[in-house]
Structure formats: structure tokens, C-alpha cells
Amino acid sequence: MKTIRPPLVAFAAALGCALMASPAQADGEVTCNSGPKDKWKPMAELRKKVWAEGWQLEKALVQGDCYEVYARNEAGQVLEAFFHPVTLKKLIVYRRGQEIFRAKGFDPAG
């Protein structure tokens, strides 16, 4: 091991900041507590809901027990959002791994 160089320290510090700047919630692990699937609203209604947000839908799918949506908002930002399959309530929204919206009282860990 050689002596530690300043660029290396700056690099490590920047990386550390980046890793701490975002909330640690794997989006594959969002839980919606949505119950049996036969009570879920159809995906077509989810699409309408996304449209009503003013978003442009790219992809809608089932992720765990949630509806997950990839979309762009009016500003052109890429969003990944989770909706409750029964109420179609918007629960949590990420932008490139950063949480930018969370419904009041919602706990993504279930």
C-alpha cells in the first residue's frame, strides 16, 4: 500500500455523499398490503389514473402486491411510481432511485 493521495480521498468522499444522499429503499421491495387479487381494480383504470396525473405512461406492471408504473411527468422527468391496486392511490414515487413523493402514512416496508 502506498500513501493515500488527495484525489482518492476526494473521490471516496464524493461517493460517500452520493450514497447517503438517497433513501435506501429497494423499489423491488415496496409492499402495498393490497390483499387478494380478485379485489384489485383493472390495469385499464390505473392507466387512466396515470393519465389524470398528467403523466405519459411508458409501462405498467404488477410488482409484488403493488401496481408499478414507469412514466414521465410534464417536465419530462422519468418516474417510477407505485399505486395501491385496490384504491389506485398513488403511494410512492421515485426518480432515478430517489424518493420524491410519499403518501401520508404510507410505509413502503409494509
Binding site: 473521490f11 461517493l15 455523499c17 452520493a18 450514497l19 444522499a21 438517497s22 433513501p23 435506501a24 429503499q25 429497494a26 423499489d27 423491488g28 421491495e29 411508458e58 409501462k59 414507469y70 417536465a75 419530462g76 422527468q77 422519468v78 426518480r95 432515478r96 432511485g97 430517489q98
Partner: protein
């Protein structure tokens, strides 16, 4: 590799390296995949090729050269260049997906995004000097330039982690390298003590 002429062997290697890209592009052209669906496979292929390019060095230090490791070492530069090519493909897909420069600039400050850009920039120099003549020109400096790949690799993993918040896939790609590095460190340290004892 000794059974085939060098040029033929190299052509076959590059044909194999191009297979994942061909599959991705087929999905895109055929309409089965959105550009955003290809961000993951192109990025992951780049990371995997980086791992493959970085493994033979420490393995040879740990086990000593054998036929297999020497063969692997002889294609290492190709693997590194392919990793860079997949990073460029990843960027091209990103540009197609984002559509406008403004949208790309708008998210440049997000940690999950700038780590990707920085990883790519750090790969440019090592990739640019990876032909024989540059190696001869640069001499020992060449190795120093190739060390940028370590930083690029760490940043690529950070980029992955920051987008995904799932540590497992990133950790799985780090594991073989971490093991090879540990093995090398262990071999080197035991060798040193052995030499001391018998000195």
C-alpha cells in the same frame, strides 16, 4: 487459441462478444423491448465484462501462470474494450430513451446518474490506449492509466446501487473480484513470511 490463426481467433472472440448486443438490438427493432428495458442488460453486460477483464491479473498473482490463465490474460484487453463498447451502447440507449439534451441535463445532478457519467468518463482513457502501439509508447505509465478502471468499476457499482437500492446484484458482481484480490493479498503475504523464515 494456439490451434487457430490469431486473426481468426480474434474474429471469433469479437463475434461472441457482440452476441448480447445483437439480442438487445433485435428486441428493440422488433418492438418487444422499450429503450428503457435495455438499460439494465447493457449496463450489466458492461459491468460483467469489466469483471472478466479485471480477474486474470490477481488470479495469476495468486496461482502463478498456467495455460488457462495465460489464455485469459491474452484476451484481457479485448474484454476491457468490449466493456467500454457496452457502456457506449448503454449511453446510446439512454440518449434514445431520454430524447432531449434538456432532459438529460435536468437529471445530471442526481447521484444515480452522475456516477454513471463519471464511470464512463473514467473508462475513456484506459480504452483509448488499449492498442499495442500505445502500450509500447506508454511503458510503465500504461499500467497506471489502466488503474482508472478500478475507480470506474466502483463508480459503476455505486451507480447501480443508487438506481436500484438492491445491494445483492451489485455485490454478486463484486464478489469474484473481492475473492481474487483477497487471495492475491494472502498469497503475497504468506510468500513474504516464507521467504523471511527461510532467509
Amino acid at each position: 487459441m494456439t490451434l487457430l490463426p490469431r486473426a481468426t481467433a480474434k474474429a471469433i472472440l469479437w463475434l461472441l462478444l457482440a452476441v448480447p448486443a445483437a439480442l438487445m438490438l433485435r428486441g428493440l427493432v422488433g418492438g418487444e423491448a422499450l429503450p428503457m428495458d435495455l438499460l439494465h442488460p447493457s449496463g450489466e453486460t458492461s459491468v460483467r465484462l469489466m469483471v472478466l477483464a479485471m480477474l486474470p491479473g490477481p488470479l495469476i498473482d495468486a496461482f502463478g501462470p498456467n495455460r488457462f490463465l495465460r489464455g485469459w490474460l491474452s484476451i484481457r484487453r479485448n474484454l476491457g474494450v468490449a466493456a467500454f463498447a457496452y457502456a457506449l451502447l448503454h449511453l446510446a440507449i439512454y440518449v434514445i430513451d431520454m430524447r432531449t439534451i434538456a432532459a438529460m441535463l435536468d437529471e445530471l445532478g442526481l447521484p444515480g446518474i452522475w456516477t454513471g457519467w463519471l464511470a464512463l468518463f473514467l473508462m475513456i482513457l484506459p480504452a483509448a490506449v488499449s492498442f499495442d502501439r500505445a502500450m509500447r509508447w506508454l511503458g510503465r505509465g500504461w499500467k497506471r492509466i489502466q488503474r482508472l478502471v478500478y475507480a470506474a468499476f466502483v463508480l459503476a457499482l455505486a451507480h447501480w446501487l443508487l438506481l436500484d437500492w438492491n445491494w445483492k446484484p451489485a455485490a454478486i458482481h463484486l464478489l469474484p473480484l473481492a475473492m481474487a484480490w483477497l487471495l492475491r493479498a494472502w498469497r503475497v503475504s504468506t510468500k513474504v513470511t516464507r521467504e523471511r523464515t527461510f532467509a
